[in-house]
Symmetry: D2
Subunit: 90 residues, 4 copies
C-alpha cells in the first residue's frame, strides 16, 4: 500500500503558487497592511489549500484506487484516505 506520488509535475506549480501567496502575506504583514486585505489574503490561501487537497485526493484515487488491480489493496487505500479526511475535516 506504499504508493509513490506520481503527479509531481502537476502539483509542483500549484504548491509554488501557494508558497508565493504565503510569502506575500508574510511580507505584507511587515508593512502595516489594512485588515480586510489580510483577511482576504488568508481566505484565498485557505481556498488554495482546499483546492489542492481536492486535486491531490482525486489524483491519488485515480492512481492508487481506480488503478490498483488488487481489490483488498483498493479497499485498504480508501480506508487510509478517509482516515486522513476524518482527522482534518470538520
Amino acid at each position: 500500500m506504499t504508493h509513490l506520488i506520481h503527479d509531481v509535475a502537476r502539483l509542483t506549480p500549484r504548491i509554488r503558487r501557494l508558497k508565493g501567496q504565503v510569502a506575500a502575506l508574510e511580507k505584507a504583514l511587515a508593512g502595516q497592511p489594512e485588515c480586510i486585505a489580510v483577511l482576504t489574503q488568508i481566505a484565498a490561501i485557505r481556498g488554495a489549500a482546499q483546492g489542492l487537497l481536492l486535486e491531490v485526493l482525486e489524483g491519488h484515487m485515480q492512481a492508487h484506487v481506480a488503478g490498483e488491480k488488487n481489490p483488498a489493496r483498493r479497499s485498504a487505500e480508501v480506508a487510509a484516505i478517509h482516515k486522513v479526511l476524518r482527522s482534518y475535516l470538520k
Copy 2:
C-alpha cells in the same frame, strides 16, 4: 474604515509556521514521497490556513468592530468582513 492590522506580533509566527509547512511539502515532492503522506501534509496546511482565518477574523472583529466607537462604521465593517467570507467559504 481603513484599519491597519494591529496584531502583527501574534500573527507572524503562525504565518511563518504555515510557510514552513508549505516549504516542507515542496521539498518532500522533490523526493518521491508516499501519497498518503502528501495528502496528510496538504490536509494539515488547509487546517492551519482555516485556523489562521478564524484567528484573524476574531482579532479583526475585536479591534475594529467591538473596539470601534462609531456604530455606522461598526456596521460597515461587519458587512465588509462578510463579503470576504461569502466569497471564499462554501
Copy 3:
C-alpha cells in the same frame, strides 16, 4: 449578553427549505437511489447549512455586536461567537 434572535422572519424560510432537503433525502433513501444522486443531495445540504451559518453569523454580528452600545458587551459577544466557531469549524 443574552440576545434574543431578531431575524426570525428571514431565517424561517431558509430553515424550512433545509428541512425539505433533508426530508427529500430521507424519502429518496427509501427508494434505492443512485449513489451519486445521494452524494449530491448531501453535498447540497452541507452547502445550505454552511450558507445558513454565514447568514446567521452576519445577522448576529450586525444586531448584537455592531448594534450594541456597550463596548465591553461587544467584546464579550465577539468572544462568544468565536468560541462557537472554533468548536465547530476545522
Copy 4:
C-alpha cells in the same frame, strides 16, 4: 456506472438525526431563542452534514470504486465523485 446505494440501513438513522436537529431549530425559532444558541445549533447541523458527506463518500468509494471490477468504470466513478466535490466544496 449507475450504482444503487447499498448502506441505507446505516445512513437512515443519521439522516433522521439530522432531520431532528433541523426540526428542533425550526421549533426553537418560533420561541424567540437566544442568538448564540441558534448559532450553535446551526454550526452543529453543518457539522452533522459534513460528517454525513464524508461517511457517504467513504461508503460509496468502498462499494463502487474499490469494489468495482472494471478499471474504466472505477476511473469514471472517481471522476463523477470529484465533479460533485468540486461543485460543492470551496
